[in-house]
């Protein structure tokens, strides 16, 4: 392959991960950073670094003209958006294409098809993948009627703009109307569309997602599933692979659903199909597709041995997938802990600052994906992720045991972190016995507050 020069349009640990993947493929890298990120480790590792704009993401990491201009001006052949920021923006992908830059991700039309909950659900339904009861509503009255049909409590959220952002849970009709009005006005303000989505609030379900990978030559495979039920306000804290709570039958079905959606899109690049699984009732319903590399991708790498970021780069440059479905084997179990600069004693509020001491322990079998270094000034402008600690074991208990050792061996000073919370969680029966569902942690915190 001709030498490529990849513009990395992201920051933090994922920027480091992408730069290393490029280094190992013999690709050059140019990193676009915000002013405060000039002193970051990715800025050191990239062959070249360019300051896109000021601290606020809108001026830098979300500054589409600056990113594209910088990529072209530095002679890059491709742009890797990482996760978050511009990674799911069809307009950005299209602009890259217009300027002759390979966008490392799916095609713009695929991003569009997956960009809003309505069309994504429609797609899933069209190929017989079950979705949660609910739908889009134009008026509070519609919403009320729909809610009565599917039954309270329900989730209320803007139809456009994915993730957990602005999602609200309501338990009665009064609450619904209020929430609907707010969501609708927010939605029309931010997305120019007041459509509000109503869906059943699943009381106790596991968040299970399937890793998919496709090339430009019609090959598509899945790389098994991950479980990410341990969340706090839709932010994942501990992820693992595979999901041991699934029956083989349910697992087969899940993988099948994911591939059906990938096929329907003729999906190219790396992606994740998210589902809610009611383990007791065996119900599965489609949530959404994340058309990008996922924060928790390393747990899948650990159990399959597939370098997902490398494969994502290669298929973006048109290489056919060397992997076939039958080559994908799952070995053991992997766990990822998200160490964040958040204070568990105060509702996980962010606590940026200067890292005066950063001494992770290189215990065997633990992988640290992190951009931390001693003396680093953890900036207040972006998300709180400091490090991902990935451990692997023959089985789930072995992986958890390694995770305990790895997090216990970390010495960090200068920012308040969630280290203690992670340690506590790893010793919690619900987690040891894998009974956690997506609401568990919030309920637990709620209880603690009441004490």
């Amino acid at each position: 392959m001709a030498t490529q020069r990849v513009f990395v349009a992201n920051r933090g640990e994922i920027a480091l991960r992408i730069i290393d993947a490029c280094d190992r493929l013999g690709f050059e890298t140019v990193l676009g950073v915000s002013l405060p990120d000039k002193e970051s480790l990715p800025a050191r590792r990239a062959v070249k670094t360019v300051v896109l704009g000021g601290p606020r993401a809108a001026e830098s990491y979300l500054n589409v003209p600056a990113v594209v201009h910088a990529a072209v001006a530095t002679g890059c052949t491709a742009v890797h958006p990482g996760y978050g920021f511009l990674s799911e923006r069809a307009d950005f992908a299209r602009l890259c294409a217009e300027d002759g830059l390979v966008f490392v991700g799916p095609r713009p039309e695929q991003l569009e098809a997956l960009g809003d909950k309505i069309s994504a659900r429609r797609l899933a339904e069209s190929v017989g993948v079950p979705v949660s009861p609910g739908g889009p509503t134009q008026t509070a009255a519609d919403a009320l009627a729909l809610a009565r049909k599917i039954g309270f409590p329900v989730l209320v959220k803007a139809a456009f703009g994915g993730g957990g952002r602005g999602m609200k849970q309501v338990h009665d009709e009064a609450g619904l109307v209020a929430a609907w009005e707010l969501a609708s006005s927010e939605a029309s303000a931010s997305f120019g569309d007041g459509t509000v989505f109503i869906e059943r609030f699943v009381q106790s379900a596991k968040h299970v997602e399937v890793q998919i990978l496709g090339d430009a030559h019609g090959h598509r495979i899945h790389l098994a599933e991950r479980e990410c039920s341990l969340q706090y306000r839709y932010q994942k804290i501990i992820e693992e692979a595979p999901c041991v709570a699934l029956s083989d039958e349910a697992r087969q079905r899940l993988h099948g659903y994911a591939l059906r959606i990938a096929d329907a899109l003729d999906y190219v690049s790396l992606g994740t199909v998210e589902f809610l699984v009611d383990v007791d009732r065996g119900d599965i319903c489609f949530l959404e597709v994340n058309p990008r590399v996922q924060v928790e991708h390393p747990v899948t790498e650990a159990i399959t041995g597939v370098d997902l970021v490398r494969e994502q780069l290669l298929v973006a440059f048109g290489e056919p997938l060397r992997l076939r479905q039958e080559d994908v084997r799952v070995d053991g179990h992997a766990v990822e802990l998200r160490l964040t600069a958040q204070d568990p004693a105060h509702g996980l509020r962010p606590s940026p600052g200067r890292l005066t001491h950063w001494r992770p322990s290189p215990v065997g079998g633990a992988r640290w994906d992190t951009h931390m270094y001693e003396g680093y000034l953890f900036p207040p402008y972006y998300d709180a992720l400091m490090a991902k600690v990935i451990t692997h074991g023959a089985d789930r208990q072995a992986a958890l045991a390694r995770a305990r050792a790895a997090i216990a061996g970390l010495e960090v000073r200068g920012c308040t972190t969630n280290q203690a919370l992670l340690q506590e969680l790893l010793d919690t029966p619900e987690i040891i016995h894998d009974t956690v569902t997506t609401r568990w942690l919030e309920d637990r915190f709620a209880k603690e507050m009441q004490l």
Partner: protein
Amino acid sequence: MDIDLEELATMVELLKEAEFTEFRYEKGDMRLVISRGAVTANHETTPVGVPGKPAVAPASPLQSPKASPVVAEPAVHEGAEVVQAPLLGTFYACPKPGEPPFVRVGDRVEARTVLCIVEVMKLMNSVEAGCSGVIAAIHAEDGQLVEFGQSLFSIIPGDA
């Protein structure tokens, strides 16, 4: 500019008599070059700091593009105001290709004087001096990428 004019006058007097095509005088950090006849090609490459002069690099400390991306900070001009790039883009010193630049070193500028254009995705953004004074240095090169916050001009403030 602390030139000893008397000294210079004497020198010029003397040089009138002397027959030469090139006269160089160096003393400490002072350096004088006077040529007669055609300007030889290599004059462009003579003085310290001609564009692309590589030997400059080792002079700077650990300034990789990492430590401070793309550019090392320019030599400080005491009391100079440094005009920085308000956004990332392509630096244009001239209104149109071929035309003379907006400003040259030594030019007097006012706060509203346009110094250059920074283009990002076909959008032309003109950059103004922001203060009145004299251009002491131009730190960016025509047609090159400048980063957000990169130093473009040094201006010695002061009114005429």
